[in-house]
């Protein structure tokens, strides 16, 4: 075998490893907890400014009494068909209120968050967006924050923000369609239903599935005891694109 070879070549791309643990344990029952929801799936009020699709590290505060019909998505990282049908498939705001009425959780936090995680600037999310969202949630007395990403890059952004929120003493969990990214990026807790990116919180208009995913996820916040745990959830939905 005669091959033209070169000595001294160097690999040009760094291959990463998981970041260090961050952990806040939950010290009260779910029925007494204030629960917030944050998504990197580009959800915002129709009256708010659209996200810049090529990369935007700003975030939108969503008052939790907003009707689902007032919400929309601006995000190019995943097929929008499902969120266009039902915003709850990414941002299950209606399910949260139902869980509050049922007494499954204490209450829904007054403010929820949407940001556009795709194409994001890692440092900005780490140093600005994450800590800013964490401070507001802390101020509002939030006990648990549940996250969804959208595409791969927004799983990364979601996890960066999740870690910032966990770091201020709030227990967090991400419902991940791409669990390896959440794991690699150091998500404290992960649930993984079998869902495609774009409907990370369950099939659109399937209230039973969305409720089950959200409930199981919240139960995991109570049950998981160490950093980086992941639980696969037995719900499956395949998007018909």
């Amino acid at each position: 075998m005669s091959l033209t070879t070169v000595r001294g070549l160097k690999s040009e791309i760094y291959v990463p490893i998981t970041p260090s643990p961050v952990w806040s344990s939950l010290d009260k029952p779910l029925s007494e907890c204030t629960v917030a929801f944050c998504t990197a799936g580009g959800v915002h009020l129709k009256s708010q400014k659209r996200f810049i699709l090529s990369g935007d590290y700003s975030f939108r505060e969503i008052p939790s009494d907003t009707p689902a019909s007032e919400l929309m998505v601006s995000h190019g990282g995943f097929d929008n068909s499902d969120v266009n049908k039902d915003i709850n498939s990414m941002f299950p705001i209606d399910r949260l209120h139902e869980l509050e009425r049922e007494g499954f959780i204490g209450k829904v936090a007054p403010v929820l968050f949407g940001f556009m995680g795709g194409g994001g600037n890692v440092n900005k999310f780490k140093e600005e967006t994450g800590p800013a969202i964490a401070q507001i949630l802390k101020r509002e007395g939030v006990d648990i924050a549940v996250f969804t990403g959208g595409c791969g890059t927004c799983h990364r952004s979601a996890t960066i923000v999740q870690r910032a929120v966990e770091a201020v003493g709030i227990s967090t969990i991400i419902i991940a369609a791409l669990p390896p990214i959440a794991k690699q990026q150091g998500a404290p807790r992960i649930t993984a239903p079998h869902v495609p990116i774009g409907s990370n919180a369950g099939e659109p208009n399937n209230i039973a599935m969305q409720t089950a995913i959200l409930k199981d996820t919240l139960v995991q916040v109570e049950e998981m005891t160490t950093f980086g745990q992941m639980k696969t959830l037995p719900y499956e939905y395949r998007q018909n694109v």
């Binding site: 791309i13 291959v15 699709l53 090529s54 990214i181 998007q239």
Partner: protein, 571 residues
């Protein structure tokens, strides 16, 4: 976290750091040590600093701790006794070659001398005069193995110097005329298409505002044979640029945008972009509102555009061979005695605008092809000639700077380089989709591994367009090939914005595609796609790896200097 003995062996030259509190008298083993692969993170966060005289893992295994020490303490001569000053290098000690006689009675008359060889590196020299045919292994082949041509493709080039719109579609004397009514007719291609406009942009008039560029499509047509063989007529000096919005004016299939002035938003001369001297035929499609981010909307726009191109193809078919200015011959080879390799091209397959048409009837066409999402994103093998004859029509729109448009595949530098290289045998070009669902990602990657194994290749180059969730597939595709003992090189845009989020030990020879000074997806069409220089680095890296010559590990952060230095080493 403690490490295993195997990990300790791999990292024997890395510093030894205690993973947990250990008391005086402890005899150090792997389970007392921290994983060196997380040292950079620990150092970065200030949790760990190394003294100059820190001992290596190879030195401390079996040594005794002389005082209590906390976790994250680097071990030094002051802290331990009985460490090795110069530990034996594991890999050197393995080079010893042994041979033993077999149990057979040596006095028996057997006409042969037989002994077992456990491991042999290098050559055996035997005196001449032996009967060569009696040797139990092959000597130099008596007959030179011959390379075979499997198929031949002839591309006839027809220069175009002027394009205009008129009564009838014609191509005469280097002037292409496109029938005006064609735009309206093209609405028939799909009910979601609401309007189609076409204009001609000459090289000198490029400061023209444009919607985001969905694709750049060469104009070619089959005259004889099927895709990959026979004769194809191609127009030179002209290219179709597809743009689009929905009825509300929202840009179609954007994830990152190159909406703006064409002269500013295109990196001219990339394999996928228009060349500096090209005339652009801009086809601007309006699709039904809210379908621009769904799978059907962009596909409808591509179909309408293809309808227009087909009428141009039909006149191009009729042009006489004599009128062609240039003729290129492409061959698919079966090269004997050369290491077999494959090129794996990961393409988007997450639905929406993340899709591609494989093997259309016409070069770079739409009709007759199958979309990789419909095929379940499983690996599909094309011959190099099929790729170079327009076997891929890209519906994809990821970031404009990193997406591979249809013209990119038509002029893919890695396909050309690997197909023409005399030292390797390119067995095929494998297209594998990046699915939307995580489980499916593992499924298709595993099939890729099985395919590489069945093809019995020695090496592979894996490329991906874009960045983000497709990097999961990228990592897994490389792993599935690498774990089978096949040498792999990975090629992707990562730089700053696209930093890898998952990785594995087989990703040790990587080529960076970034061309943006800040390392961002910069919204200039095709800027950070594979160029000939990237292809050359990737192929030399693969050959070097196959020859067993080490590739140095990557720096922790992206830096252009590394790429420049590699570039300088290319023969």
């Amino acid at each position: 976290m403690s490490i295993t003995f195997e990990t300790a062996k791999q990292h024997q030259n890395d510093p030894a750091v205690l993973c947990c509190l250990r008391t005086k008298g402890t005899v150090i083993s792997a389970s007392d040590l921290e994983d060196p692969s997380i040292f950079p993170d620990l150092e970065e966060s200030g949790l760990l600093t190394f003294p100059e005289h820190a001992l290596t893992i190879g030195q401390v295994l079996g040594a005794t701790l002389e005082q209590d020490a906390d976790s994250m303490t680097p071990l030094t001569p002051e802290l331990v006794s009985h460490f090795l000053e110069n530990p034996k290098n594991e890999s050197e000690s393995q080079k010893i070659t042994t041979s033993t006689f077999t149990d057979e009675d040596p006095t028996r008359e057997t006409q042969v001398i037989r002994f077992n060889i456990d491991k042999l590196v290098g050559q055996i020299e035997l005196p001449t005069g032996l009967n060569v045919n009696a040797l139990p292994f092959a000597t130099a082949p008596s007959k030179k193995a011959e390379d075979k041509v499997i198929r031949t493709l002839t591309q006839r080039a027809y220069p175009v110097e002027q394009v205009c719109v008129g009564e009838e579609t014609t191509f005469k004397d280097k002037v292409l005329t496109i029938r005006e009514a064609l735009c309206k007719e093209s609405l028939k291609a799909d009910p979601l298409v609401k309007n189609v406009e076409l204009d001609i942009i000459r090289p000198e008039d490029r400061h023209v505002y444009s919607n985001t560029i969905m694709d750049v499509i060469p104009i070619g047509t089959k005259v004889e044979g099927i895709l990959g063989e026979g004769i194809t007529n191609v127009m030179n000096g002209v290219v179709v640029v597809l743009t689009g919005v929905d009825e509300k004016g929202i840009q179609v299939h954007e994830f990152g945008s190159c909406e703006g002035y064409l002269d500013e938003k295109i990196r001219f001369g990339r394999p996928g972009s228009p060349d500096l001297e090209d005339i652009m035929i801009r086809v601007n499609v309006t699709v039904q509102e809210n379908t621009g981010m769904e799978r059907r909307g962009p596909y409808a726009a591509h179909k309408a555009c293809d309808y227009i191109i087909q009428e141009i193809r039909d006149v191009l078919k009729e042009v006489s061979a004599d009128a062609s200015a240039d003729q290129k011959i492409f061959r698919d080879w079966k090269k004997s005695g050369k290491p077999r390799v494959i090129l794996v091209k990961e393409i988007m397959g997450q639905g929406a605008m993340h899709d591609n048409v494989l093997l259309p009837n016409e070069p770079a066409g739409v009709i007759g092809g199958r979309r990789n999402v419909d095929l379940g994103n499983v690996p599909v093998v094309l011959s190099p000639n099929e790729v170079r004859d327009g076997g891929i029509h890209a519906l994809t729109c990821i970031g404009p700077a990193t997406k591979e448009v249809t013209r990119h595949y038509f002029r893919e530098p890695l396909v050309n380089l690997m197909a023409e290289d005399d030292e390797i045998d390119l067995a095929g070009v494998v297209f594998i989709g990046s699915p939307q669902v995580n489980d499916e990602k593992s499924y298709v990657s595993a099939r890729l591994g099985a395919l590489a194994e069945a093809l019995d290749v020695e090496g592979a180059i894996v490329t991906t367009e874009g960045f983000g969730n497709n990097h999961i597939d990228f990592a897994e595709n490389i792993e599935q090939i690498g774990r089978r003992g096949i040498h792999v090189v990975g090629v992707s845009f990562c730089a700053y914005q696209g930093q890898l989020v998952v990785g594995n030990k087989y990703m040790d020879a990587m080529v960076e595609l970034n061309k943006d000074p800040e390392g961002f997806e910069n919204e200039i069409l095709a800027d950070s796609t594979i160029c000939p220089s990237d292809a050359e680095r990737a192929l030399v890296m693969l050959k070097t790896k196959m020859a067993g010559i080490p590739i140095e590990s990557a720096n922790r952060k992206w830096s252009q200097e590394v790429i420049d230095a590699n570039e300088q080493l290319i023969p």
